[in-house]
């Protein structure tokens, strides 16, 4: 359990991490859509970059972000005394 005096700090860090991830997700989506056409001019291996980013790149980044988030949030929890007990 998290002690009462730890709660505000724990929640502040949790909140900041949430804002960072959701902000990056929404911001990244909008930026990708805005720049998809100019990015399409580059075509390594035949893939136009704008298409590739929306078809694969962004999705793979989302999954990496999810694992990163799960680890990061667990570290925050542990630092403030939340133990994984059943």
């Amino acid at each position: 359990m998290i002690e009462n005096e730890q709660r505000p700090a724990h929640w502040r860090e949790t909140f900041a991490l949430m804002v960072a991830i959701i902000g990056a997700l929404v911001g990244g989506t909008v930026v990708l859509v805005l720049f998809a056409v100019p990015l399409d001019a580059f075509t390594p291996l035949g893939f136009p970059i704008g298409f590739y980013a929306l078809a694969q790149g962004a999705l793979i980044v989302c999954v990496i972000a999810a694992f990163w988030f799960a680890n990061r949030q667990e570290r925050i929890d542990r630092r403030h005394g939340a133990m994984e007990d059943v």
């Binding site: 909140f15 298409f51 133990m83 994984e84």
Partner: protein, 614 residues
Amino acid sequence: MALETQFRPLSPRIGTYYAIFVSAFIAMVLLLLILEQLGARKLWLSHVMMAAPVAFYLGVALAARTLDIHIFATAGRRIPAVFGGLSLATTAIGGVGYFALTGALFLIGFDALCVGLGIIGGLLVSTVLFSPFIRKSGSFTLASFLHQRFASTTLGAMAALFMIPPLILLMVVELQLGAFVTSLFSSLSFEAAITTGAVVIVATATAGGLRSLVWTQSTQYIITIAGFLTPLVMLSVAVTNLPLPQFTYGELFERISTLELATGIGPAEPDNGLAMPGQGLAPSMKPFLQAFGAVSRFDFTLICLCVMAGMAALPSLVTRASAATSAFETRFAGAWAGLFAVLFLVSAPAYAAFTKFLTLQDVAGSPASQLPDWIGRLSDAGLADFSDKNGDGVIGAAELLVSRDGVALALPIIGGLPFIIVVLVAVGGIAVALAAATAHALTLGQAIGEDLYRGLLHPTATPSRRQLVARLGCILVCVLAASIAIAFELDALRAFAWALSLCAASFFPALTLSIWWDRATGPAVTAGMATGFGIALGHIVLAELLGQGSLLGLSSMVAGVPGALAGAAVAVGLSLMQKPASAGARAYLDELRDPSGVALYDRAVRAAAKRRSL
């Protein structure tokens, strides 16, 4: 009593069982391939191929049967993250992703990518914003969570009622997609296939609730991904010499563009509203790679965000957090779900590109009298219609008509793969459609048992009675969904967007505010949820009745965006006008935000049991 079973460890041999299952499935497919070469009857082969997996799902579901309400509703809270991820991924993709999204990618290429990104983004948002907290609360349903958070029966019952339209919509399209494919390869009619599907769903959902669901969905994911990737990898080797279609289809683009020019598929401009391809036979509207030709930049972004919010707050996904062993594990289950869904979603554009390339390669420029024989097989099945309608001797862009939901099945046929592989694709699609529909049915059944029956009518109902009502609820919603599926034809992609819009407009703001904002009050969230739902529903109904699918320039497919904004504004505004929450609500919120410790619902049940025994 009931809660003791929670600590029974999971069988350590579960991985072995899955390995045996996969081997048996591969052996069956190979055996049927040999029998096909020996000249066995096709109808017989496809019946075996389709019936065997369904029998297996039913076996798994029955093996996981239970009469314990805790296991029925939460699978005993001991599902490892990887299996949780497998089953979440099937719910997120569904038959809509398997058939309709692949078809949309074939028809409009680039412009359909917004849906895939929305699904993955939604899983990420759900993992960050909701699932660890739902797991900590221990609630059986999304509605019960809101009920407990604000101690408001009205809010709980209203949320349960709002779940019904979107989840029924999703069940109907999953049933229709599954039945459409089943009727192609078996002697069952469309109606009989829907009825069969509904029976399988009822059996799976009522046997062991969430436990049956998680274990059958994990097997269904394996069959789905096998069905989708097998033809793709085989044809990738044939065309590009490499078995990694997701990374090699780039080299097809130049050839696709040349072929498109030869056929006369020219760049398109997004006209009024967004032109997502509908059901039925349609020509390709734009070149594969052209960006924002059918869907404008603005609509692309809105669909993406709307699917994200709707997927994140989809009750069938949110409530599944309760199956994980802890709030920590829930986050990893979400991450695994993203990984498994991505494996499918990055393959879907490759699938569409290979289908496009093989189609155009055989058709473009060749005289209409010398067309390959796969065209006859496709049109016999109603999946495509390539005929020289204007009589100029060649097949032009407007004469290449393809059925959106049939594109997935078209690839192995065009590529000349064995019949069993074609059926394998169908079996994969049926598996994922069944998986998603079962999840929705169980979620609705639970909401009927917990929030409408216990919450509204009988607060003191015994666990066995609540479970019975939940099971009856599953049967009821399956009968309802099957009747609608037989009576009305729904466009899968539109219905999917409407359902997610309704969830995005009602549950997304309500859940976000109830977890992340201390000042949110029960009545304000209730009003906000009702406003959001009402606006989204009104937008969809008015747009479909009055305009050609759009209202005030906004398509009905993104109705969730205005709904969510209005709902959030109402909830925030009203909360600020009211007094801050009581000390009790504050304490509950503090507990909720602490990921460690026993689920709050379980703790309350244990405390009550202790009081009784004293």
